[in-house]
């Protein structure tokens, strides 16, 4: 939570995509990405999230980190809607390669094929990789 000021109106809205390709908890990338996404919401840009490769593991249901002494950020993906971040794209091929389906995920997403994902990336102004 922050007491940030709203950005001045009339600024250009750009398309930002955060690309997540790493499993959670083994490295800090997933959490860092999520924190940057939450902060970026303050700037009222057109933000989307992509989950590819091991990045799809970030959205697994039933994550319980009690035994590894790390804070779980699994539930935080469900807060994104309240931040007006509603474009979560998950790549179908990445899910299938890991024996997963949309039902295994903690939040509502749009499952897209690799070709559509490539289109989505291509139309961004800024792409940030994690």
């Amino acid at each position: 939570m922050s007491d940030e000021m709203d950005m001045e109106e009339g600024g250009t809205i750009k398309k930002f995509m955060f690309v997540n390709r790493k499993a959670p908890y083994g490295t800090i990338y997933a959490l860092e990405s999520l924190e940057v996404v939450l902060i970026s919401a303050a700037f009222e840009q057109d933000v989307s999230l992509a989950f590819i490769d091991d990045g799809v593991y970030q959205l697994m249901k039933n994550i319980n980190t009690d035994g590894i002494e790390m804070k779980s950020f699994s539930k935080t993906y469900r807060a994104l809607e309240g931040y007006d971040i509603e474009k979560l794209y998950v790549e179908r091929e990445s899910l299938e390669a890991r024996g997963l389906s949309e039902d295994d995920l903690v939040v509502d997403v749009q499952v897209v094929g690799a070709a559509e994902m490539a289109d989505l990336m291509n139309e961004q102004d800024v792409v940030l990789s994690f």
Partner: protein, 111 residues
């Protein structure tokens, strides 16, 4: 880091006065934090603190002020879901002050 004794219990605070261990929180701790922040706790204050703690329990983060305002408006009505109301209750920033009193960590992205 500092340890203070609140109602007979030793509680650890970080350099900015936030709880180090979130499990240490109780109503006495909240009253102590509020006094440090020069906030007189009323039912209206508690309503916001309780809401924040519920939000944190559900999403594991403290919400940005814009998100908090919107969510409070939805739950408690538009007369409470606005900046003016929240700033009257917590003049030095509803985000930071209410989180501190509510025993939550310093908000993500809070400068």
């Amino acid at each position: 880091m500092a340890t203070v004794n609140i109602a007979g219990k030793d509680v650890e605070l970080d350099e900015e006065g936030f709880l180090t261990n979130l499990a240490d929180w109780n109503r006495d701790v909240a009253e102590y934090m509020a006094k440090e922040e020069k906030v007189d706790m009323t039912e209206s204050h508690w309503e916001v603190i309780d809401f924040l703690r519920e939000y944190y329990d559900e999403y594991q983060i403290a919400p940005a002020i814009r998100v908090l305002t919107k969510a409070i408006g939805k739950k408690l009505g538009p007369d409470k879901g606005n900046n003016k109301y929240l700033y009257e209750l917590f003049p030095y920033g509803p985000a930071k002050q209410a989180c501190k009193i509510g025993g939550l960590p310093k908000p993500t992205g809070c400068i």
